[in-house]
């Protein structure tokens, strides 16, 4: 039981705790656990480069996606439209504070912070400006993974369009296009980021 193992050469599966020798992965390869089939490590192709460009695109799209109207309705000669930010503002005006807060958090704040985080991380790696504070930053960054719900909001837009289509005249605005592109680029930016590579590099740089 008490054999001494060098833990730099080992990895463990996050799901079932099985212990393996650290595999030498080439770009595009992934290591799967033989016991539970979970992907333990993956070396993504051109991770930093791709993540940087996607998050840059996402940051540019962020402002129009949030501020431009997503869709509008016309009924009996009256027209009204709403953007993502309007949703939150209207909900606050009508005193639904809890939903307003949640919509703001899950559909605006968390995705924005996550995108900015991906941009910052990939920027520092691309231009080799590594700081010790990145260790804490990367750690905090992963806590947001579960709570960005842009894709769910997108499905929500589709469903509510169907609901409105029936008895009103519906018009789609530029905001929707910007929103879809924003969703796409922020998803790609997060997916392209290679955790193992980032941690390994930070460890080589700052830990003993």
């Amino acid at each position: 039981m008490t054999k001494i193992v060098n833990n730099k050469q080992l990895i463990a599966c996050q799901q079932c705790d099985a212990l393996y020798d650290k595999p030498e992965l080439k770009q595009g390869q992934r290591a799967k656990c033989v016991r539970c089939g979970n992907v333990m490590a993956e070396r993504k192709v051109n991770s930093i480069e791709r993540s940087f460009h996607w998050s840059l695109a996402g940051t540019l799209l962020l402002v129009p996606a949030i501020l431009l109207p997503l869709m509008g309705v016309t009924l009996a000669g009256q027209y009204h439209h709403a953007s993502l930010l309007d949703c939150v503002v209207v909900l606050i005006e009508r005193e639904y504070f809890m939903i307003a807060m949640l919509v703001f958090l899950f559909a605006i704040a968390v995705p924005v912070v996550r995108l900015a985080g991906a941009l910052y991380i990939s920027y520092s790696f691309k231009f080799n400006q590594l700081k010790p504070s990145l260790l804490h930053f990367c750690r905090a960054f992963h806590h947001l993974d579960n709570w960005a719900m842009l894709n769910v909001f997108m499905l929500g837009i589709v469903v509510s369009m169907y609901k409105l289509l029936d008895d009103t005249q519906l018009s789609v605005n530029m905001g929707l296009l910007a929103f879809i592109l924003w969703l796409f680029s922020s998803t790609m930016a997060a997916a392209a980021l290679d955790q193992d590579y980032i941690w390994q590099k930070l460890e080589d740089e700052f830990v003993d």
Binding site: A18, C36, G37, H80, C87, I99, H136, V152, V207
Partner: protein, 218 residues
Amino acid sequence: MSINTAKENNLALCPECHKLNHLLAEVTSKKKIQCVRCHAFFYQRKPHSLQYTLAWNTAALIAFIPANLYPIMIIYSLGIGDPATILSGIGQFIDQGLYPIAAIIFTASIIVPLIKIIGLYLLVYRVHTGVRLRPIKHTKFYHALEFLGPWSMLDVFVVALLVAVVQLGFVTSVAAGPAINYFTLTVIFTMIAANSFDPRLLWDKKQTIESFKEENDK
């Protein structure tokens, strides 16, 4: 087939950066560890994982009851309010012949939360008793539960959008009902419940059962 686990070798995996940490001799597995790489505090296994999962899960189940009884959305047309619960909203879609949308909403707001709550109860029960424990299957099931979590928020976003877009004064407007708060609570509670469950416990339990059997055979 016996696989070495990190726990047996006195190692612990950091949940944040996936670095293997050595446990010092005097540190028992129940103690808090600080990762040498990212300085996060963690435990070898999530402490009281089953209890936390059970508690959050029960809270979610309780919140799910008013979420279905109260109206989630009130549609005013020409000043007359028409309250709709989650189920009656789905009924309206079926009446209008919009079956795919009805199916999406039914899956997202009724089936997914229920499967999550029942599934987590089942996982906790299986880990606790070890009855018919099949870790491979259960780990995959847990993965699916974790993935499905956020999609239940669909109904909340739909209501939020409708409230914001449909504001045509007296002609027609939409207001949110009290059920929306309970429903969001259900979703958040199930997400926290799924987060507090530790799938490695499934494998730990399997291994103790197997080693127990081997001893009995001798």
